[in-house]
Amino acid sequence: MSAHLPILQVVVPLLAAPFCLFLKRGRAAWGLAVLASWAALAIALALLGQVMQEGVLSYAIGDWAPPIGIEYRVDVVNAWVLVIVSGIGAVVAPYAMASIEREVEAGRIPLFYAAYLLCLSGLLGITITGDMFNVFVFLEISSLSAYALIALGQARRALTSAFRYLIMGSVGATFIVIGIGLLYVMTGSLNMADLAQLLPEVWDSRTVKVAYGFLAVGFCLKLALFPLHLWLPNAYTYAPSAVTAFMASTATKVAVYMLLRFFLTVFGAPFSFDVMALDRVLLPLALVAIASMSLVAIFQVNVKRLLAYSSVAQIGYMILGLSFATVTGLTATLLHLFNHALMKGALFMAMGCVMYRIGSVHINAMAGLGRRMPWTMAAFVAGGLSLVGVPLTVGFVSKWYLILGALERGWWPVAILVLLTSLLALVYIWRVVEAAYFRDFPGDESTREAPWTLLGPTWALVALNLYFGIDAGRTVEIARQAAEVLMAGIGP
């Protein structure tokens, strides 16, 4: 069976989704979702192990050898992203039970889990595939279900946020389709590995460069790179808590992965950096994103939106690592994919706990919560410290490699900027901490700690934040290997 792991990775959650529709009770659908997402995680871990040992895996769907048929191709890079996505999926699924029962009406709960599983399998499908057009198809699976998931939010603004996301997302997808089409017309192939062979011959053509541009814009829309981030803050703010936790930790990460995959594998690192000067385009964008979005986050009063702006800034860090165009920089990017998923997941899940108990995440409503919900707020503080980059948390590991990358290039002003902006993170996290610990609780005296079904998954992520902050050897090793794969063809 292990030979079929690549396809099972996607098909297991995908096949579970329609079954959710046959289940009347929300809890039953929930059970199925939990099982499917855990199975996905197990498969992803197995795949990562296999890839680390045996190298690249290729799975020809329908027995048609690539490039005739569609190929699933797993190397260290996407095995790593698969683990991130399915891991978050497996943590959020148990968490969703209580959270969703509170925030979504009973009749829609099985539908929620169907959409959740579809979104998960869509993201996994994007990540694992070795075929360009297949990317688009699974991108749409995940996007469509994401729009629906966001629209499930309680506030009516969830609807407008979802619509805006739909428009932006569709534009992004269409740009990607145009880009894929232009590449196809120049080479006649849709298979990524095949394209990587064929493209160098036509590097000089304007068509390939335009294709590059369209793919860049398309993916940057999806990953909400400043200034194409406008859809993200509201979408994350008004979606149900579990959805926000899931999306914030996975969707943009997969988009970053696609960017890396297309630019560094399909086009090849030499083309990206030497011909297209990708590094010089991305560097200023990333820096502006980090600085401006961190500043904006400071002035937010809705904590979910605060964290959403912080996410845009954090995406800037990932792109910054890419713009160093070195193995170290890319290691930082790949590490931050994982680490940011852990910390933002924990933070948004803590906010879900707050939402569960007091029905709001406004910073004033959280006054005095430190004593009412000690575990929840402790989780928030731990996640926040990780976001700031305090040593012994995962955030520190990312920062370390990012700065190391900057210094390797001799860009010490960039290093200072990265450090300064992590202080901005301290400021916005601290605003919440002060509210929670230094003000009196104005609300209902009976407010209690969130139930363990919410706290358990939240703290699981917090624990991982600390664990991989204290022992990052393995994650760094994987990220470095992945970075080397991506940077193949260019000096270290």
């Binding site: 410290l385 700031v388 980059g389 305090v390 040593p391 012994l392 520190f396 590991v397 920062k399 370390w400 700065i403 190391l404 210094l407 390797e408 010490w412 290093a415 200072i416 450090l419 300064l420 992590s422 202080l423 301290l426 601290w430 002060e434 230094f438 902050g469 204290i470 022992d471 990052a472 050897g473 760094v476 090793e477």
Partner: protein, 530 residues
């Protein structure tokens, strides 16, 4: 031996766990604190014996990044710091038992809990085997002391907490971390090695920059302009101030500067490259400016705080002199100043608890009621100024000689001037206490004492019977937290028993260290080599 190192870290943490478990029973809780403190000191003593015998025990806790470990290693400098910190923790704990109960502080469990965490991180800083470990525990120390600084929970405490954490974090993250990663980038390691790790790895032009990143990045060393957090943290209860400003936080800062200079740069290498010359003058400026500001402060704790700012730069200066004598003086000053300054803080706290006075101008004549306290204050003052028969004389001596050897005669003048200044602003207190006329000045420029802030207000009414009831009235604390100001007039009962004991011990230590500075001196010569 490795076990001992781990125990040095583990015992305070275990103590914290016990404190949390015993939160319902104040006596047991405090007993746990004391026992932990005692045990820790015993452990550090054992480590001291081993290290002075030439052993260098090591322990690796984890390897967060490939090649970068959380590692502990006991070497003489660290042992010196650990000895001071663990010994003074016992004294401070004893002192705080009296103080906290006398003051009817809320959240006492939280206080002891974070106190224990702070000491655990101090041990981590002291025994850090590499820059990364040092940095990690340095940050943990900032976080662990934050709840202590903001203990009162008031708006003022919150503001102070912001300044405290803001400055400590921003300097450490922006400068220190950058320095660490830079060192790693050029040297490929961050381990502390005798003689330093940079020689041969880095051009002479980069050394001053890196050194500056550390001197300013270690914000806890309070080199101007990054000193603001220190006076701000004065809103904390007095035992915290004593711990923070005599032992744990500030000493962790200057200790880190010294350690980095010796084991990362190598002080000979610093001297060769001349990297530290301008930093010497930055430290000298802080010494003078700190003293001058201290002069203007009427609030006793604020005056002591600026005195600390000034004195810390002596240690930094010693490190920047980059010769054996300077380094020895620097290390000794860590010890001497710790004993001197903690005595002063203890006295300030005792005065506040017993007499509710927080301004210097209110102290006239108090010395006749609290002779022990004021006598101890005098001894502490002498030690800070550096006059015999106190330990402070030794460190000042070495620093002075070190300056001469470095060819910086100007610095000698700075040291002299600053000593005179500190003599002037510190001696005023015992002088007022013993010779001032009671009642004079107390209602002078500062009105009726209301200006002294809520430290004073909280002191109101809690002192009567404090000395004899110190044992067990914590349980019904909140019920009569404020008796009201009418009892103020009858409050002068002399210093509380627990406090007197603590004060006596530290003051005696100041004197004893003049006679017998041997252990610290020996440790420092082991650092500098023959």
């Amino acid at each position: 031996m490795t076990t001992l190192l781990l125990l040095a870290l583990g015992v305070p943490v275990a103590g914290a766990a016990f404190i949390a478990l015993l939160r319902r029973n104040p006596n047991a809780r405090e007993a746990a604190s004391l026992v932990t403190a005692g045990a820790l000191f015993a452990i550090v003593l054992r480590i001291y014996q081993a290290v002075s015998g030439g052993a260098r025990p090591e322990a690796v806790l984890a390897e967060p990044l490939p090649g970068i470990r959380i590692a502990l290693e006991a070497e003489p400098l660290g042992v010196l710091f650990a000895l001071i910190a663990s010994f003074l923790w016992i004294v401070t704990t004893a002192y705080s038992i009296g103080y906290m109960r006398g003051h009817h502080e809320k959240n006492q469990t939280r206080f002891y809990l974070f106190f224990a965490f702070a000491i655990a991180s101090v041990m981590g800083v002291a025994f850090a085997g590499n820059l990364f470990t040092l940095f990690a525990f340095y940050e943990v120390l900032s976080l662990a002391t934050f709840p202590l600084v903001t203990h009162a929970g008031t708006e003022k405490a919150k503001r102070a907490g912001r300044v405290y954490l803001g400055i400590l974090f921003s300097t450490s993250v922006v400068f220190q971390l950058l320095g660490i990663i830079w060192v790693y980038a050029v040297a490929g390691t961050v381990d502390f090695e005798p003689g330093g790790i940079l020689r041969g790895n880095v051009g002479a032009g980069l050394v001053p920059i890196l050194l500056a990143l550390f001197v300013f990045g270690i914000g806890k060393a309070a080199v101007m302009p990054f000193h603001r957090w220190l006076p701000a943290a004065m809103v904390a209860p007095t035992p915290v101030s004593a711990l923070l400003h005599a032992v744990a936080v500030v000493k962790a800062g200057v200790f880190a500067v010294l350690k980095v200079t010796v084991y990362i740069f190598g002080f000979e290498f610093v001297a060769e490259t001349g990297a530290s010359v301008w930093l010497m003058w930055a430290a000298a400026a802080t010494i003078i400016l700190g003293s001058l500001v201290a002069f203007t402060k009427d609030n006793l704790k604020a005056r002591l705080a600026y005195s600390t700012v000034s004195q810390l730069s002596y240690v930094v200066l010693g490190a920047m002199l980059a010769n054996s004598l300077g380094v020895i003086g620097s290390g000794m000053h860590i010890a001497m100043h710790a004993f001197g300054k903690i005595t002063l803080f203890f006295c300030a706290g005792a005065i506040m608890v017993a007499a509710h006075k927080s301004e210097v101008s209110q102290l006239n004549g108090l010395g006749r009621r609290m002779p022990v306290t004021f006598a101890a204050f005098l001894i502490g003052t002498l030690s800070i100024v550096g006059l015999p028969p106190t330990g402070g004389a030794w460190s000042k001596w070495f620093l002075g000689v070190g300056s001469v050897e470095a060819g910086q005669i100007g610095l000698v003048a700075v040291l002299m001037l600053s000593s005179l200044l500190s003599l002037a602003y510190l001696l005023e207190i015992p002088l007022r206490g013993f010779f001032g006329k009671e009642g004079e000045g107390a209602h002078g420029a500062h009105g009726d004492g209301g200006a002294s802030g809520e430290d004073h207000a909280r002191a109101d009414g809690s002192a009567p019977g404090f000395a004899d009831r110190g044992g067990s009235h914590d349980a019904h604390d909140p019920a009569h937290a404020h008796h009201g100001p009418q009892q103020d007039a009858h409050a002068h009962h002399g210093a509380p028993r627990w406090s007197v004991a603590a004060i006596t011990v530290t003051a005696a230590a100041c004197v004893a260290l003049f006679v017998y500075p041997e252990p610290f001196y020996r440790l420092m010569t082991m650092v500098t080599g023959p």
